[in-house]
């Protein structure tokens, strides 16, 4: 492996970088996807019902 004093990456660290970012990126992407799906309800829902339904469990 070539020495790189800048720490900007080498051939072998390229694979390590990809794995590392996928390791955190996949769960984060899954979470964002789920939240984005949930937030679409804001734009899809029709007028509010006359009688309020039970409040859903909020992620926050």
């Amino acid at each position: 492996m070539a020495a790189n004093t800048n720490g900007e990456g080498t051939k072998s660290s390229g694979v390590a970088l990809l794995v590392a970012w996928l390791f955190v990126g996949i769960p984060l992407g899954w979470g964002v996807y789920n939240t984005a799906l949930s937030s679409m309800k804001l734009f899809q829902a029709g007028p509010a019902p006359a009688m309020p339904a039970p409040a859903p469990s909020s992620p926050r």
Binding site: L17, G31, M40
Partner: protein
């Protein structure tokens, strides 16, 4: 302990060829895990049905008792960050991350025992105190390491990690819901087994961060970067020790800035779902309101990365000028977007998501602001002490919002009108923060650590 010597700072010094871009995912592994705390509300109802299963039995815990678990965890987060910050600077990020992972997982395991024995105090001690200690340690553990690896882009680097804390709830919430559904039986709500499983999953996930994190070698700096070329009047090239920083006016001014920004943000987060429904009665129902809450979470997370990155270009003080000045205006305008005035859902949502992005941005930009003021030497420890502002805001925000709203309602103001007073009060809080930010000046020479400069500490 010899077996744990791999956690020592000396053993985590980067080898030749180590890419600094491995440090943000290591930090994210910690923050994405501990950010689960913001999803604790998904356990609230199951924890009140441990005996009754489908409903709350007379001997079941009630929601107000269960709510203390989250509050305790957030208060302990601030106290733990303030207490262990100085230890962390000596012990190094790997040891601190490991301690964080152990505490966070142990918190889940103790809570599992509390659920099995139906002893609420075990959840207070477990998730609240032990888990909360893990939260504080984990939150600050990668900060100074990131700043040392990215002296050229400290806002971007710390923003990436702290973005993870905002995103943690987005993973923790659906994960907990799916696990509880998996473990649910006719005589068990499944929350105990979910605690046990999540403790294990998060521990293993955090171990990735522990084994990936590295500190830079003595004297390392990015190619072509010199601190002087980037230093301006508001970026010091000197270091200030944590105890000295604690005595500076700058520390307390930034404490006020963070406290006001967080308190105001909680004004929206705390009331998001009922607020949009009551401001747009007949237009927005509970399902759409839940979508609104999700949208706020995305902007809260995205704002952490966006604003902290922007601060690298426009400077930390101007970034907070935007947060606090624009925030004050937007909080003033927000109630007028409701059904009683302009009746614009689109405008209400737009203003709200911008405000939430600046709330998240305030969290993510503060480590870089501290580094600009006090240097990189003790920045994690100083950040840890500053997070007590979060603990205070975490109590102050909901109390202010709820009491002010109830006061207005008791005095005959309608529900939509009651939000006007609350949101306009948030404007005042942001103006206090704005003034504090304007007063921030470079730290006086008498506080500087003798014989050191930021680049030497790296």
């Amino acid at each position: 302990m010899a077996g744990l010597s791999f956690l020592d700072r000396e053993r985590s010094v980067a080898h030749e060829g180590y890419s600094r871009w491995l440090v943000p995912p290591a930090a994210l592994a910690i923050h994405l895990a501990i950010g689960q705390v913001y999803a604790f509300s998904v356990f609230k109802i199951p924890l009140t049905r441990l005996i009754g299963i489908t409903h709350s039995a007379p001997n079941d815990w009630i929601q107000s008792q269960v709510a203390w678990i989250f509050s305790l965890a957030i208060v302990i987060l601030g106290l733990s960050a303030a207490t262990f910050g100085k230890w962390l600077e000596g012990a190094g990020p790997r040891k601190a991350m490991f301690a964080s992972a152990v505490c966070f997982a142990l918190g889940f395991y103790i809570s599992y025992l509390g659920v099995q024995a139906h002893q609420l105090w075990l959840l207070y001690v477990g998730y609240g105190v032990v888990g909360g200690t893990g939260l504080g340690l984990g939150y600050i553990s990668p900060v100074s390491t990131l700043i040392k690896w990215f002296p050229d882009r400290p806002g971007l680097a710390t923003g990436m990690a702290i973005m993870g804390f905002g995103g943690g709830a987005m993973i923790g919430s659906p994960l907990a819901v799916k696990l509880m559904a998996h473990f649910h039986t006719p005589d068990n709500v499944g929350v105990g087994s979910t605690f046990l499983t999540m403790g294990t999953i998060y521990f293993l996930f955090m171990m990735f961060g522990v084994f990936t994190i590295r500190v830079p070698r003595e004297g390392w700096k990015p190619a072509g970067w010199t601190s002087m070329t980037h230093a301006g009047a508001m970026i010091t090239t000197h270091d200030v020790e944590v105890n000295a920083a604690f005595g500076t006016p700058q520390f307390w001014l930034l404490w006020i800035v963070l406290c006001m920004n967080v308190t105001a943000g909680i004004g929206i987060i705390e009331q998001a779902s009922p607020m949009i429904q009551e401001l747009f009665k007949g237009t927005i129902g509970p399902v759409a309101a839940a979508g609104f809450v999700g949208l706020l979470s995305i902007f809260n997370m995205g704002g952490r990365f966006f604003w902290s990155s922007v601060s690298d270009y426009i400077g930390r003080k101007p970034t907070y000028v935007i947060f606090l000045a624009a925030g004050a205006v937007l909080y003033w305008v927000l109630p007028y977007t409701g059904g009683n005035h302009w009746n614009s859902v689109g405008l209400f949502v737009t203003v709200s998501v911008v405000l939430l992005s600046m709330y998240g941005g305030g969290f993510a930009t503060i480590p870089a602001y501290l580094r600009d003021m006090f240097g990189g030497y003790n920045v994690s420890a100083i950040h840890g002490r500053l997070l007590t502002a979060w603990s205070v805001a975490g109590v102050l925000g909901p109390v202010l919002v709820n009491y002010m709203r109830e006061y207005e309602l008791r005095h005959g103001v309608d529900k939509a009108g009651a939000y006007q007073a609350v949101l306009h009060f948030m404007t005042l809080l942001l103006l206090v923060g704005f003034m504090a930010n304007l007063l921030v000046r470079p730290v006086a020479q008498k506080y500087w650590r003798t014989g050191s400069a930021t680049e030497k500490a790296a």
